[in-house]
């Protein structure tokens, strides 16, 4: 078995405002850790600030950023990094991940655009990740994003992401659903992609549902239940890389909390099954 130490263990849930009160009132949730977008919770006082503090005291907390814009053609927002650092320290944030993407030109656009897969972009982004790691004094974890177009493409996505994590010496958040979505949209084998990622760098996994725009074009909305092929892909990821902490993301059409906890329970079941298999084979 891998000796890698993870920032958290087990199965987690992306924390949303819509269910924070309900979650706070529950005793046995089966959730091992939570994750938030720091841009939605940092520097926030009042009722929400207090609720967040309470959750961060009760559960191991991860941050999954949205606005760092690591691939942006505009300069890094270093004052923002200092603000993030303060927030991470204040709430004992276990791990900070961001999208391998960009969300701004000379101004923020608040969603994810695809970085051109080129050699120059690899060096550019890797340098920026190193700068982020040195300011934050912690490793940055970057996530493979869903993309619907690959403008200016000179290399494939897998080579691009592998080159960046290697050159920047950073960690990886593997979003299993994004791999599935991209494998359909860009016609590659999702398991080959996952197997080719460096095991030692994977910090945790994301799993989510999505929306089918057409047979050959899927939109990653985080707005639906996780589908069976994605569960299968998760099981195969465990089989190949060992059990890795996994977080359920749900951003839109959020169902009832018990339903979400059921999906978290499904993650637990896959993790247990995989552990048993490893034991019986090991």
């Amino acid at each position: 078995m891998s000796s890698k130490t993870f920032p958290v263990n087990g199965a987690g849930l992306g924390l949303r405002r819509s269910f924070i009160d309900e979650l706070a009132a529950m005793d046995n949730t089966g959730i091992d850790f939570l994750e938030v977008a720091p841009e939605n919770w940092m520097e926030m006082g009042g009722a929400f600030g207090r609720k967040f503090t309470a959750m961060a005291e009760r559960y191991p907390m991860l941050c999954h950023g949205l606005s760092l814009s690591i691939g942006s053609p505009a300069p890094l927002d270093e004052p923002f990094l200092q603000r993030l650092k303060k927030f991470f320290d204040k709430h004992n944030i276990r791990c900070y991940s961001e999208h391998l993407s960009y969300c701004s030109d000379d101004g923020h656009l608040y969603d994810l655009m695809p970085i051109p897969f080129t050699e120059e972009a690899v060096h550019y982004v890797a340098d920026r990740i190193k700068r982020v790691q040195s300011i934050l004094e912690r490793r940055l974890v970057i996530e493979n994003v869903s993309y619907y177009a690959a403008p200016g493409q000179e290399m494939d996505e897998l080579s691009f992401i592998r080159a960046i994590v290697e050159e920047a010496d950073c960690d990886l958040l593997l979003d299993v659903n994004n791999v599935f979505v991209n494998s359909v949209n860009h016609r590659y084998d999702p398991l080959d992609y996952i197997k080719a990622l460096p095991r030692g760098r994977i910090a945790y996994l994301h799993i989510a549902g999505h929306y089918n725009e057409a047979e050959d074009l899927i939109v990653d909305t985080h707005g639906a239940d996780v589908i069976d092929p994605v569960w299968d892909l998760l099981a195969q990821t465990y089989q190949h890389h060992g059990v890795i902490p996994t977080l359920l993301e749900r951003d839109f059409n959020i169902p009832s909390l018990p339903q979400l906890l059921e999906e978290v329970g499904t993650i637990h079941r896959y993790q247990q099954q995989s552990q048993l298999q490893h034991v019986s084979h090991g």
Binding site: A37, E39, N40, M42, E43, M44, G45, G46, A47, F48, G49, L66, S67, L68, G71, S72, P73, D77, F80, Y102, S104, D105, D106, G107, H108, L109, Y110, D111, M113, P114, I115, P116, T118, E120, A121, Y124, Y148, A149, P151, G152, E213, A214, L217, V219
Partner: protein
């Protein structure tokens, strides 16, 4: 395509420009339009949803078409600096202030945007509620600070009454003074003040004692019954202390 040193950045700028303004800026080459359409929709819907949530009254005054044109104009003209989502509303106010050019907008639009933003801004303000009780003393003799959770706002238009059926075309005769506060239960309350009460609060937060502030008002109004003004001031100040609007400064 050329291979200059940062050609990938040029591609990025073009991609973003197209998302901001699809009618005027061409998409990067060789990308299927239904794929670009996903990006166009995702970005527009995201910003549209954020603005709708932040400014429900303003949204209600526009038609679907004029509202969408407003959101599109914001995306084209304004470059948001904030990485925080709750501050997008503030970026929209900055846009209305300096980039919006439309003769069709109602004259109260900027003030209404401010009024709608205040509730959100105050609800997440980092200050904690505090109350400084009055001991056995005359509140007119004391000095005060205005709570960071109580904001005195002065508008030209009665922004708190605006709706689709009530849209003023000219400013009010007297300024509209609203005191907005977050109470100890984290609720946001709006209190309408008359201009004299608003002046009293303003003078107190500038550092005048209760007595000095009352005298200032008596002189300015040439009031024939100073004791009536002082009595009124005392009642107001006691109420404001009780609600945590005024904090007693004790050096």
């Amino acid at each position: 395509m050329s291979h200059m040193a940062d050609s990938f950045k040029a591609t990025q700028y073009r991609f973003a420009a197209h998302i901001r303004n699809p009618d005027a800026e061409p998409a990067p080459e060789q990308i299927e339009d239904r794929r670009m359409a996903i990006y166009r929709d995702l970005f527009f819907n995201n910003i549209n949803g954020t603005l709708k949530n932040a400014f429900p009254v303003i949204r209600s005054l526009f038609t679907e078409d004029t509202w969408q044109a407003l959101v599109r104009d914001f995306m084209i003209k304004h470059h948001c600096k904030t990485p925080l989502f709750v501050e997008i509303a503030r970026e929209f106010m900055a846009y209305l202030e300096s980039e919006r050019l439309s003769d069709d907008d109602p004259p109260f639009l900027k003030e209404l945007a401010h009024y709608e933003w205040v509730e959100l801004a105050l609800s997440i303000h980092e200050a904690e509620f505090e109350r400084t009780p009055l001991a056995d003393e005359d509140c007119l003799t004391l000095l005060y600070q205005q709570s960071p959770l109580a904001w005195l706002l002065v508008y030209q238009y009665p922004v708190h009454q605006i709706s689709i059926d009530n849209q003023p075309t000219t400013p009010s005769d007297t300024p509209v003074c609203l005191l907005v506060l977050r109470n100890e239960s984290d609720e946001i309350k709006f209190i309408e003040l008359n201009p004299v009460s608003a002046r009293l609060l303003e003078l107190l937060s500038q550092g005048l004692s209760g007595k000095e502030a009352a005298e200032d008002i008596i002189n300015a109004m040439q009031h024939a019954q100073p004791e009536v003004v002082k009595h009124g001031a005392r009642q107001l100040i006691e109420d404001w202390i009780e609600r945590g609007i005024l904090l007693i400064s004790r050096q």
